[in-house]
């Protein structure tokens, strides 16, 4: 452990193409005029130094080494190419000629350099700070006819609000909130509870909003909120913007026991 360690820093390469590209650049040659023999030797000696440094060599690098050696040997021992015996190897590269190698390198170069351009844009854009509330939704209620969600991009709950808002903004419809009668909401709550009792598992919130009318949407929504508030149901969400599930609060069932199933346990 105490022996002097050589700290030789090898540049990191994303993959064999990246390494080859680096070698070509170092040799200051054009992709199309590389000598396969030379590049193969350089490539192998690089892998050798990785090995000496006990670095893990990803399998892709080795596959490329094999590919390069094959190309090199082909050049040294020109023979009629009989395509028949082309092995069905699981070659990530499937490069059979130098020409093909050049093409692949060129394609890689295009995207590598384009990625650098994107990186510049990333940097630029990250200099602009945006408002962030940590993904919380803010709904703005002003007057009944101008209810809308400001945040977009979320599904589910805000979808519902959006349908609501769209209808509110476009439908020729008459006043909203003040007209929501208690009994309608109560009716809806009963319905929601009966559905949940029947299925006895969490159901997506969306499933309860199947009706077309704006009125239905509002009532269902208010009923659910009301039930959640009274702890009759639990609303579950797996992470921000995840699907919202509605499930019965088992505790409340036992406590109240007022829903059909009779046999109330007596508690104070």
């Amino acid at each position: 452990m105490q022996q002097a360690e050589y700290k030789i820093k090898l540049p990191f390469f994303e993959g064999p193409f990246d390494l080859l590209f680096h070698l070509i650049k170092k040799a200051e040659v054009d992709i199309w005029s590389i000598s396969i023999a030379e590049i193969t030797d350089q490539y192998l000696s690089y892998l050798q130094s990785m090995k000496e440094l006990n670095l893990d060599i990803a399998s892709e690098f080795l596959v490329m080494a094999a590919t390069l050696l094959r190309l090199k040997s082909k050049l040294l021992l020109p023979r009629p190419t009989h395509r028949g015996e082309q092995e069905e190897d699981e070659d990530l590269f499937e490069i059979n000629t130098a020409e093909e190698l050049f093409q692949r390198l060129e394609e890689y170069r295009i995207f590598k350099e384009t990625a650098l351009n994107l990186q510049k844009r990333e940097e630029e854009q990250q200099k602009i700070y945006l408002r962030s509330t940590g993904g919380q939704k803010v709904m703005v209620f002003t007057r009944p006819e101008t209810v809308y969600t400001i945040w977009e991009g979320a599904n589910h709950l805000s979808d519902i609000m959006h349908r609501f808002a769209e209808a509110t903004l476009t439908d020729a419809y008459v006043p909203a909130f003040s007209a929501v009668e208690d009994f309608v909401v109560a009716e809806k709550s009963d319905y929601i509870q009966s559905v949940l009792l029947k299925y006895r598992r969490p159901l997506p919130l969306k499933d309860f909003i199947n009706a077309e009318g704006l009125w239905e949407v509002i009532v269902t929504f208010i009923a659910l909120l009301e039930m959640a508030r009274r702890r009759k149901v639990i609303l579950l969400q797996e992470g921000t913007f995840g699907t919202i599930f509605v499930t019965l609060n088992q505790e409340s069932l036992h406590e109240e026991g007022d829903s059909g199933e009779g046999k109330t346990e007596k508690d104070d």
Partner: protein, 173 residues
């Protein structure tokens, strides 16, 4: 609603919004024509510039958004250093570049260009919502197809996919 108030409303709306807001949506809110909204936003942009404010309104991902001026970044970074989002790795950028220009594209196609396996990179990009699975390719194995998302545009400050920087084709130096 008179013009001045519309303008104020747009400013307030963009101030509150975490996402680019589409002109059509603002127009619906104000019950006015989209062209009207665009004009008002342009006016706001000029107002902001002339009043030498720390904020700007810019166009991105098909909408408008309010953000800080780039030159303030060093100071804001000091103030909010804890929530700086980490930059993308070179590998992620490579994969993203391929997806952006070749979409829809399969994992194998991406790997064949990069010459390395890219599962983890794709997972990471999916998690960051910069790409999405858009379907399956017909053919053997029916591999998943990947596309970029609106978040991708926002992340790089692009209006739309046309706004991508040109591919680095044959460069004669």
């Amino acid at each position: 609603m008179e013009k001045e108030k519309q303008k104020k409303t747009i400013e307030a709306l963009l101030f509150l919004s975490e996402e680019p807001e589409k002109v059509d949506k603002i127009a619906a809110v104000l019950s006015t024509a989209p062209e009207e909204v665009t004009d008002l936003i342009r006016e706001l942009q000029r107002d902001f510039a002339q009043a030498s404010r720390g904020l700007q309104i810019f166009e991105v991902a098909g909408g408008f958004q309010m953000g800080t001026l780039p030159e303030l970044a060093p100071y804001l970074e000091k103030a909010f250093s804890e929530d700086i989002s980490s930059n993308l790795s070179t590998a992620a950028l490579e994969a993203l570049a391929i997806i952006a220009y070749k979409q829809p594209v399969t994992r194998i196609e991406i790997e064949s260009i990069r010459g390395v396996r890219s599962e983890h990179v794709l997972e990471n990009l999916l998690k960051r919502k910069l790409i999405r699975v858009s379907g399956r390719k017909e053919g053997p194995g029916r591999p998943l197809l990947y596309n970029t998302t609106p978040d991708f545009l926002k992340y790089f400050g692009l209006m739309d996919l046309e706004d991508l920087p040109p591919l680095e084709m044959e460069k004669q130096e």
